[in-house]
């Protein structure tokens, strides 16, 4: 794909945090061991007035503050999430109205576990390449759910990132994209279930590692690249261990992944996870830098991207919105009682 790519980007992370040790102590577990085992120190928690729609709007407004495009030139909005506020009524309609992009607009909500946001980027690239739209908006955001006491409770968090895709003033060319998809039931949520179910250790080798490794390897083959050709690499981060492990297996160094590894500080933002990592890399990337991204969505599939930062990055007004690490640092701790209240764990009639 020649000269189609990211025109601007923005992220949003709720301010509340709960420490892994505070969750563990409620369930009589050793918090230090769990924190070390998962590679997660704390996770972000949405306040009672935040959801996937508000996170998507704030991330998109951050992206718009950094560039000078008219929201009316956005011809498509795709929001990837597994926590859309409504089961039926698209989050993208709310985002489109809130950024002033309606009514000449294509909108659909995407769901593919943690990779729906990267799928949204691919769709936008295709529409731009076909000449059907000038700009597309792709968002990956979640306020992910976890059953009380489940292993996911230590990681399921909230956040998201938005990317404006186009072919004018592209700050980062998307040189190649490739997806690897199979039917692998490692994690799911049935239509009427409040919380997801997962296959425990089955989520590892046949799921995350198989798909991420195949996607990454095949993408590098298509692009004709090697791990050392990249300045930064981002992998889906359901915990702090999987992305580190898969990066090492593929031949990437810790220096290449650390800027995009956000999960130890905010947990797994699901559809936002790899994209908040990409936003963090774009916060510091310079023209000429090359970025490798592989997402993963249970079910299962991986989307890979080979990205090159252009000279136009120098014109992007990055300082007009907070960086990912500024948002990581801007936090307020809550206890488990408050967490239970705001995440709807309490039930009464």
């Amino acid at each position: 794909m020649d000269k189609i790519g990211i025109v601007s980007y923005g992220a949003n992370i709720p301010r509340w945090r709960i420490k892994t040790e505070d969750i563990a102590s409620v369930w009589g577990k050793d918090g230090k061991t769990i924190s070390k085992g998962l590679g997660i120190n704390e996770k972000s928690v949405p306040s009672i007035d935040q959801d996937t729609a508000t996170i998507s709007v704030e991330a998109t407004r951050a992206a718009l503050k950094r560039c000078n495009i008219n929201p009316q030139d956005i011809g498509a909005i795709y929001i990837g999430s597994e926590s859309h506020p409504y089961a039926v009524k698209p989050t993208g309609t709310i985002v489109g109205e809130a950024i002033g992009a309606t009514p000449d607009l294509m909108v659909a909500d995407y769901e593919f576990a943690c990779k729906a946001g990267t799928a949204a980027i691919q769709s936008c690239c295709a529409f731009v390449k076909a000449g059907m739209i000038k700009y597309g908006l792709a968002v990956g955001a979640d306020t992910s759910q976890a059953a009380p006491g489940d292993a996911l409770e230590y990681s399921a968090s909230a956040g998201g990132a938005a990317f404006i895709i186009g072919k004018d003033n592209v700050i980062a060319n998307i040189n190649h994209t490739y997806s690897f998809t199979t039917d692998t039931p490692d994690f799911w949520r049935r239509a009427q279930s409040k919380y997801p179910s997962h296959g425990g250790r089955f989520t590892g080798a046949p799921a995350y590692f198989k798909h991420v490794t195949n996607c990454a390897t095949n993408l590098m083959q298509i692009a004709g690249t090697k791990p050392e050709d990249y300045n930064y690499a981002i992998f889906h981060q359901p915990n702090g261990k999987f992305p580190v492990s898969v990066a090492k297996k593929l031949g990437f160094t810790h220096d290449q992944i650390k800027q995009g590894l956000i999960v130890p500080y905010i947990g797994n933002t699901y559809s936002g996870a790899s994209l908040v990592g990409l936003a963090s890399v774009l916060d510091v990337a310079k023209p000429g830098d090359r970025i490798f991204l592989t997402s993963y969505g249970s079910g299962a599939g991986s989307d890979g991207f080979d990205i090159s930062v252009t000279e136009k990055m120098n014109n992007l007004l990055r300082e007009n919105a907070p960086s990912v690490f500024q948002m990581v640092e801007d936090k307020e701790y809550i206890d488990y009682g408050t967490y239970a209240k705001v995440t709807d764990l309490l039930y009464w009639e």
Binding site: R15, S47, I48, D49, Q50, D51, A53, T54, V57, E58, R61, P85, Y86, I94, E97, A98, G100, E319, N320, A321, P322, D330, E332, K341, V342
Partner: protein, 137 residues
């Protein structure tokens, strides 16, 4: 359908995007928008023009709500402030993303998009503006 759905839908431009209006006669700006200017009355008819405000302002005064209406019970205690917008109009809004002790008269604030309320667990969700402290980059 909840009885508030149509009203909220009509108010989306102001709640999401700060669309106020300006009197073509005296140039006063209003938020929320008015059908006619209360100062110019008949002279303003047909001359009220929509204008997008920037969603930034300064706290004029505030209070901390400890006993709220039913929709906000889970959020107490929380600050409610009268905010003078950059363009002049004063509005009432909730302040979020800061400790309640940090709210001060004169504090610079900017709007943030939040969930305001919902019609129970099966009804519509209503979004709109709240305000947070401006953090200099």
């Amino acid at each position: 359908m909840g009885e508030g759905v149509a009203r909220f839908w009509r108010e989306i431009p102001q709640r999401y995007n700060f669309i106020g209006n300006k009197c073509g006669s005296c140039k006063r700006i209003f938020f929320p928008p008015r059908e006619s200017c209360p100062y110019c009355r008949r002279k303003s008819m047909g001359k009220m023009k929509d204008i997008k405000l920037n969603g930034k302002g300064e706290i004029v005064t505030y209070t901390i709500i400890h006993v709220s209406s039913e929709d906000f019970e889970e959020q107490v205690p929380y600050p409610i402030a009268i905010i003078k917008l950059d363009e002049g109009p004063q509005i009432t809004a909730q302040i979020v993303d800061c400790n309640i002790d940090d709210v001060k008269i004169g504090m610079k604030v900017e709007s943030t998009f939040r969930k305001i309320r919902q019609d129970g667990s099966t009804g519509a969700i209503y979004y709109g503006y709240k305000f947070k402290k401006v953090i200099e980059q």
